[in-house]
């Protein structure tokens, strides 16, 4: 296909602003092409539309999005319209995507291999960002593999292709992407905030289970996976592969292995969210779906449940709900050895597993109003002279107070640490936590 611009082309906008210089073709899609351009000394991305793909209403919506501004910094949001007086064409400028970010397809094809904790952060960032968008009354309409990018070390995300965002209740030409569209959208409804929630749940399921939530026996029975088959599977007859009541669409060994491998690796609360998303969430689009605030808490809870296998180093989830069933210890998914549990910090019935590298952030202690991952509130460290002694270091700016099981009260000033002795209560301002030794056999070893 012939590209609209070549490297070195100059676009002189109609408002007489300085020319943009085209540096590189980045990609093309159904609506237009994206280029890296130099503009006012900075590198930016320019999306340029094919002449027939967009109309005046579309342009008006773009102007509105630019005026509204990005919901948060994770959105590569349209910043400025550019009109070319020579061709009557137009496009818009947006920030460039950093090369450290990978597509979700890379995750699906195992070309990037983030840790479980990183994925929990990806899930948190997705839920948090879409909450910001929805809070502005807008819906995205096309949450799918192609529009989301992740950075595999810290779990940061970027959301692209935001020019299709509309206000909830409006009608758009973009209906979504097959496999991600909510059943009611497949059946003809327009996308809205509620259908975004369904697509978000599908994307999260893909990220954590490397599989589609509706592809079980019914998908296996389809020989030719074409349009009529997709309409049935994702639209008129959707059934969750782990539906607790109707077992008729379970994953098929050999075809749907990832779903079978991953389902039981995650804690009950995590699985429950997906069960709700794809049972009540299918039956009742308006009230049955898991909200972004819920996903946010679920992702942080998953993050806090991670422990390391001391034998092979693999991450595993500790599931407090299965304590009684499994006699505390779980088998490592990788080496199948039993994993001794590290101590935990319990705050308001929530357990934060304390691994050798655990960092605790303000929201975990103070409640979930502000999320700041820039500097930890506390972290785990070793005693400088006795490496067998582990402590919780106060990296906050405020003094803590500790109360030992024997009732001895001590101040823990910023920079100081308190030993991880079972039953020790720590007062963090208005919140209180207690060190819990869940597994008596493992009082010392955090590795």
């Amino acid at each position: 296909m012939n590209q609209i611009f070549k490297a070195g082309d100059k676009i002189i906008p109609h408002n007489g602003a300085k020319a943009l210089v085209v540096e590189k073709f980045l990609g093309g899609g159904g609506q237009g092409e994206v280029y890296r351009v130099k503009h006012k000394g900075k590198y930016m991305a320019l999306k340029w539309y094919y002449p027939t793909t967009v109309n005046t209403a579309y342009l008006k919506n773009l102007e509105r999005l630019i005026n509204k501004g990005p919901p948060n910094e994770n959105f590569l949001w349209p910043m400025e319209l550019v009109f070319d007086p020579d061709s009557d064409g137009f496009g818009y400028l947006m920030p460039l995507r950093d090369e450290r970010y990978h597509s979700i397809v890379d995750l699906m094809k195992r070309r990037v291999e983030p840790s479980f904790q990183t994925l929990a952060m990806v899930g948190f960032n997705l839920a948090h960002s879409f909450l910001q968008l929805h809070s502005k009354g807008m819906c995205y309409s096309d949450i799918s593999f192609g529009n989301i990018f992740l950075e595999p070390d810290e779990g940061n995300i970027l959301i692209c292709d935001n020019d299709n965002c509309i206000f909830d209740g409006e009608v758009t030409a973009i209906k979504g992407t097959p496999r991600f569209m909510a059943p009611e959208v497949v059946q003809g409804n327009n996308p809205n905030i509620q259908s975004d929630l369904f697509s978000l749940a599908v994307l999260l399921f893909y990220i954590f289970y490397l599989h589609h939530p509706l592809e079980g026996k019914r998908e296996a029975a389809i020989k030719c996976f074409d349009l009529p088959a997709m309409k049935k599977l994702y639209g008129s007859e959707p059934l969750f592969i782990f539906d607790p009541v109707d077992h008729s669409n379970r994953p098929v060994p050999g075809l749907h292995n990832n779903a079978l491998i991953y389902w039981n690796l995650y804690p009950h609360f995590f699985k429950e969210a997906f069960i709700r998303s794809f049972t009540a969430g299918i039956k009742d689009p308006l009230h049955g779906r898991v909200r972004e605030t819920e996903w946010r808490s679920i992702m942080l809870k998953l993050f806090d449940s991670m422990i390391y296998c001391p034998a092979c180093g693999s991450e595993n989830c500790f599931d407090p709900a299965s304590k009684a069933e499994t006699n505390l210890r779980a088998d490592c998914w990788s080496c199948h050895k039993q994993i001794p549990l590290p101590p935990a910090l319990k705050i308001n019935q929530h357990l934060i597993m304390l691994n050798y590298d655990t960092k605790i952030y303000p929201h975990q202690v103070k409640g979930e109003t502000v999320f700041d991952f820039s500097s930890p509130y506390a972290l785990i460290n070793r005693h400088p002279r006795n490496p067998d002694r582990w402590g919780l270091k106060n990296t906050s700016k405020e003094k803590w107070v500790s109360i030992s099981p024997q009732g001895i009260i001590k101040d823990v000033e910023p920079g100081k640490s308190i030993s991880l002795a079972g039953g020790t209560r720590i007062i963090f301002g208005k919140t209180e936590g207690v060190i819990e030794i869940i597994d008596d056999l493992n009082q010392k070893d955090l590795n």
Partner: protein, 241 residues
């Protein structure tokens, strides 16, 4: 530490068979047609490979049949597009299209075809009229479940191609796009690129507008995107057919 931080494998995908059915009769040797076809397919491969990298739902497997006096598998093994290497076709003999259809029908039977797959994409490229009985071979294809479900497209090279035959091969798809008429190397390149990237994309993940219930009055099971427009301004050296 283990090699992988998490268990399991890649996202499960389905095979998508893409088969070229190429006319290699003597007339294809005239005016550089066969060379242009070889070149167009070679040009399309890197883009197909890049497209496959971004497609988590399909494993694209490519092969090719050639027909002239008789028909043979030119590339017999369904080859993952990542490893696919084009071998140049050469032209001589007559146009035994029916024999090519019979060869194709053998391979669309289950087995060797998998029971579960994405719709196969079959592309017939021809510049002339069949010299054998193509009807019985075509009937064999149409009677097979995978033959019925396949996306069947055709590219006519030059003015002498038999559009009626190409339309019959396309079946219901003829109503959607009709045979693609390539009158110069540039059109041929664009059409080859289009069938091997855009059509594969839509066969593995149809556009959302088509997924909506009742949105499509079409009779085909894979909605076909709009083919590229014919080049309007021909460069002199292109206008040789």
């Amino acid at each position: 530490m283990t090699d992988k931080k998490r268990p399991g494998g890649e996202l499960a995908s389905r095979p998508l068979h893409f088969i070229w059915i190429a006319d290699c009769s003597g007339s294809m040797g005239v005016d550089g047609k066969i060379q242009s076809l070889n070149n167009a397919i070679r040009e399309a491969i890197p883009e197909m490979q890049a497209t496959a990298q971004d497609n988590p739902n399909a494993q694209v497997l490519m092969r090719a049949i050639r027909f002239s006096s008789g028909a043979q598998w030119h590339i017999s093994q369904p080859t993952p597009i990542e490893d696919f290497k084009w071998e140049d076709l050469s032209a001589d003999g007559v146009t035994d299209m029916g024999k090519a259809f019979a060869l194709l029908a053998e391979q669309l039977t289950i087995p060797p075809m998998e029971e579960r797959a994405l719709p196969p994409v079959l592309v017939l490229v021809s510049d002339g009229q069949p010299s054998d009985d193509y009807g019985s071979g075509l009937k064999q294809i149409e009677e097979l479940p995978w033959g019925k479900k396949a996306v069947r497209l055709s590219i006519a090279i030059g003015e002498d191609a038999d559009h009626e035959v190409l339309k019959k091969f396309m079946g219901r798809y003829a109503e959607e796009v009709g045979p693609l008429q390539a009158n110069n190397p540039s059109d041929l390149k664009n059409y080859v690129r289009w069938v091997s990237t855009e059509v594969i994309k839509t066969a593995s993940s149809p556009p959302s507008s088509e997924l909506e219930e009742g949105a499509s009055g079409k009779t085909v099971n894979v909605p076909i995107p709009l083919p590229p427009a014919k080049s309007e301004e021909l460069e002199a050296e292109d206008d040789v057919w």
